[in-house]
Symmetry: C2
Subunit: 304 residues, 2 copies
């Protein structure tokens, strides 16, 4: 495998279109009973978004698989893994937006789910998206032993020692001062865990060696943190229309961020260091990891 | 395997003590970060309960395994499966009790989780219990192909076509008149799906044949519905102190129940018919299914 033949924006746009089609297919029909719940699940999942997690699954899969195993069956498995991480991400946003959490009315330029429907439907839609994700992993057409590893990774990353735990620390930290280490722990759980799971799932499906998995883990740790630092910078430098969600909300809510801790310049320098870490981590994977490299550039350089 | 040597109440009490110890072990330590979330998860899970789902896992395992495969390893796998269904059940109660759902302040004679902690913690604790359950299945020391089947069953039973879907129908049906068929659909999803999953998981871990699985599925369908009919009868014939939750709440909330649809006598007759169905379903499994038979008796005869 050599350098990518399609430029990154075109590749990413293609992957976004593809995962949207996959998600449309794996979600229960809007007309299936219970209809309102299924419509709400679709509203939560199909409302756009950057699909960074799905892109990471595909890019890691591309980085790790040998050309001769790049079969249609493996592509199907990557689709399931990419859909699973997007479903978990979508559920987390729905619950995060609820009045008892961030109480946000706007997401991706649309009313949040509980505003469009109601709180009970929003909670249940989130609740139902989680098992749908695990079910998709269980249906991947790969060796059962690899599926079991994938389920373990998703379970750990979504749980109390991963995303849900990070969310809990985030809630508890409003109005308090965190050290850089505490802030790092919170974000590595809240955001980093699922970004890391995306990268690892792509590698597992592609039959990554243990060396390749280690490279992916280092990459994921750096990229996961970079994603959050970039988010904190955007929260103070961008506006609501560009973000598609309420800008300045973290600062307003007195939430600890990298910008509040390190200042804007300090945060930008930290972001560059993480970018360098991410690029260095995947050097052992060679040119096959070009998409992972480009995703790191994208995460550092994005403006929304 | 012959008839049980320990009488049912003693066996059930032993299984309850055992699963409590297993749950205590599989839940993250109360002192592990984030502490409040982990304490809340323990509050949700360790607060007693009948442990009917765990008992079904163990009884189905006993019904299906050959004596010579009754190894310690298989016992460990049954423990994980039993803990998984109890975790999912516990999460569903926590979310069900929230103000946007049933808004209940009392559960098993104690304040509900959001009353004891807060709504955000209750939502996140429920959210984190789900992946913990899937992670436990993935760690079962049995063939990966069987684990994959177990994950599929739990994913389906907990999702929008199972428990979460039944919950959504239940919410939407407040104040409306359901036919007996619609009520049956709602309950077979809301309660029956996870009871059925418990029975099937026990069978899968024990290496049940396809004939045995069919018997378990028929048994589970009858027992799952019987459980709900018994619950509806108890809601109007018992008091709050005995139930450990608010009695008469369904009738007050204008929720459709079997009693509101068929009357008290009609519901009791229906319960007896389901009991007979459950007993007939497991005849092919012989005396090894004695505990399943006794659980059916217990579900029909329980007073809380």
């Amino acid at each position: 495998m050599g350098a990518p033949k399609v430029d990154f924006p075109a590749w990413l746009a293609g992957r976004v279109r593809h995962i949207e089609a996959v998600l449309d297919q794996v979600l229960p029909e809007a007309g299936a009973l219970p209809e309102t719940l299924h419509q709400a699940m679709r509203y939560a999942v199909m409302g756009g978004g950057k699909r960074v997690r799905a892109a990471l699954v595909y890019a890691a899969g591309q980085a790790c698989r040998a050309t001769d195993t790049a079969t249609t069956i493996q592509d199907m498995a990557l689709d399931h893994a990419a859909a699973a991480v997007e479903l978990v991400h979508a559920y987390s946003l729905v619950h995060d937006d609820l009045p008892c959490m961030d109480d946000d009315a706007l997401r991706r330029g649309r009313p949040t789910l509980h505003v469009r429907y109601d709180e009970a439907t929003a909670m249940l839609a989130g609740d139902a998206l989680q098992p749908l994700a695990f079910g998709l992993l269980a249906q991947m057409p790969i060796a059962p032993a690899l599926i079991v590893q994938a389920v373990q990774i998703l379970a750990h990353s979504a749980g109390s020692l991963g995303m849900a735990g990070g969310q809990a620390i985030d809630c508890a930290s409003v109005g308090s001062v965190l050290t850089r280490e505490e802030l790092g722990t919170m974000h590595s759980m809240k955001t980093g865990a699922m970004l890391g799971a995306s990268v690892l799932l792509g590698g597992i499906v592609a039959g990554a060696s243990s060396t390749a998995r280690e490279a992916l883990e280092s990459y994921a740790a750096a990229v996961g943190l970079a994603f959050q630092v970039a988010d904190d910078i955007l929260d103070v430098t961008s506006d609501t229309a560009t973000l598609g969600k309420t800008a300045g909300k973290d600062a307003l809510g007195n939430k600890p961020t990298y910008v509040s801790l390190m200042g804007l310049d300090g945060s930008r320098q930290f972001l560059e260091a993480l970018h360098a870490d991410a690029r260095a981590a995947i050097l052992p994977l060679g040119t096959a990891a070009a998409r992972l490299d480009e995703i790191a550039d994208y995460i550092v350089g994005r403006n929304h």
